[in-house]
Symmetry: C2
Subunit: 397 residues, 2 copies
Amino acid sequence: TKKFLSEMVEIAEHAKKIARDDPRKVIHSLKVGLALNLVSLLYYIQPLYRNFGENTMWAVMTVVVVFEFTVGATIGKGLNRGLATLVGGALGLGAYHLSSIAGKPGEPILIGILVFLQAGASTFIRFFPRVKARYDYGMLIFTLTFCLVSVSGFRSDDLFELARERLCTILIGASACVIVSIFVRPVWAGEDLHKLVALNLERLGNFLEGFAGEISNSTEAKEFENDVQFRVGVNGILDSKNREDILANLARWEPGHGQFMYRHPWKQYLKIGNLTRQCARRVESLNSYLIPKTQASENNDMIQVAFSNVSSESGKALKELALAIKTMILPSSANPHITNMKIASGNLKSFLKSDFCEDTNLLEIMPVAAIASLLIEIVICVENIADAVNELASLAN
Amino acid sequence: TKKFLSEMVEIAEHAKKIARDDPRKVIHSLKVGLALNLVSLLYYIQPLYRNFGENTMWAVMTVVVVFEFTVGATIGKGLNRGLATLVGGALGLGAYHLSSIAGKPGEPILIGILVFLQAGASTFIRFFPRVKARYDYGMLIFTLTFCLVSVSGFRSDDLFELARERLCTILIGASACVIVSIFVRPVWAGEDLHKLVALNLERLGNFLEGFAGEISNSTEAKEFENDVQFRVGVNGILDSKNREDILANLARWEPGHGQFMYRHPWKQYLKIGNLTRQCARRVESLNSYLIPKTQASENNDMIQVAFSNVSSESGKALKELALAIKTMILPSSANPHITNMKIASGNLKSFLKSDFCEDTNLLEIMPVAAIASLLIEIVICVENIADAVNELASLAN
């Protein structure tokens, strides 16, 4: 029992951590409870219950299944469910009437063939990447409704009334979800995407600035701790592709909100995100090199200054770009840093062109050369990111 | 209408491509149709229908919702749904009886509070990463069943009978899915993971061998085409993390099949996959350098031979490792290549230590130095991968 208790404490602490990291998750849980109680009223209030009878349960089912964390996901699922029920129900009714012409013995066989064709076709269509991204749930509900209506039509008296009642209750459930989701502390997928992309840029900028600092004054004591933090941070950026894709897909369902209008250029965020990851891969490689401290020659000092300039200016540029995204202004404040960065990169190149290696072997120079080439690539990445951010600003006005 | 026709043709071609790329998707669609028709028999055959009446529809719903592409996903969803219905139904019955003690006016209020607490708690628990990975669907169905039973208990006469019939039909539906999924041309998530990891290793090996070939004889004509192929291939490897994680999660639900026993070390595949991606990032950087052809000095020739040796041997080692995974044998055939690779890497290092740069500037040497340092890193990556593959072999016996 002691082990059980300590496990319970652990789970509680884990829960507390999740709640503290994102309090919106707690609020979301309460919102689900609220929406469920709203549709439960259909059961409790006699005049409402009389309308739909047993079919009231479809409202409850819809709320449980449709209510998602973000507004976009909730609207997307609600629309998918509503439309798919409508279309699937209509086609199911059609299939039922078609097969009832065949007469009693042939009826189930004809229904079976139609169900087989419909289920096979919609299941296959769900493999289309574009359908999968946005209408996967709709195709599922389409099959579900078609089968329920056409198959259970075989046993039901008033199929049309049944279909109508289910559609109504599903629409009520979906509306309850969408309304609660939008009006009680909404979580917008678009805003999350916006913040995530800006945050990743900012983190990358911080790493580059940190690298510049490491070059100038080597504080090796804090190095290990920094390194772990760095790995976690960069891996966070590199692994964010999937999350960004999902958020962008959800954001497209959302109406205008806050600073974002409907049809905000969400795809452009994906482009910036991809460029950020390209840049992050270079920064990751950068971190694996230690600058050799062995020879404190004049050359070495000069090249370290050049390194430090390039990385600190590119870091500052990235941070200004992140700020411009966050505050939705034109990224003009990044321009001086980009100019400085280009100048520093040019200096680095011309410095490298000068005869640098004098009686030294390649293995010792290698880290220096590798860092130099990575920094030059990072400069190009940053320029591309700046272009993409400018494009975003002009697309979004 | 002409535009409509051409669009239809386009969609048909898209569908044909999906079917040709993975014919299992077509078979899966047919399997869904088959399973649906199996449970439809519950409607058509009078003695079966008498058992469950209207609740037969839960069998149809379960099939549509539970049947997934892989066996693991189907079993996982089926188990989740079955267990969650059982537990949710039992607790729902308890909640209903508890609140019925309160008497008519208080009853809906008490049920409402219980629903609110239950829905809030389970929604929050779904945010736990470990729950999300394996029991997300179960928590959803748990909430659904609890709410349906406790809330509709307010209007139903024989709640226990209702719950029993629904549980039975859901179990029938889930069993139909699992049986069809396992016995008709099964698609195993574990096998897919196995093949994906081996394929990624093999592709990486091919790239490294190709790089070796490019160094020895520069065939610039085919370069662009190769480059596009290369980009697509490497991005495929880099982006496969999410897919591997999902497959490993699903594989854990699967019983033993083919060469795999139950509790095959699926996690080890994720480790190999992560190491493969680390290596792929280096290979990606490698590709961005062109070896300067300007000076055909003796030094240059020698270093090109060293480069070519390291990359061809590491490529061969990776391909042997991939083959060992595929055929599930001990990766001993990779050992000679790993030895050669280490020797070549050692040669490269000692060669670099010798005075290499003579009256040449750093900017020209930089690509050579960068390639050298990347190749040395790749050698370390390959050694790590070999260790991980050996570990997999010993874990799996």
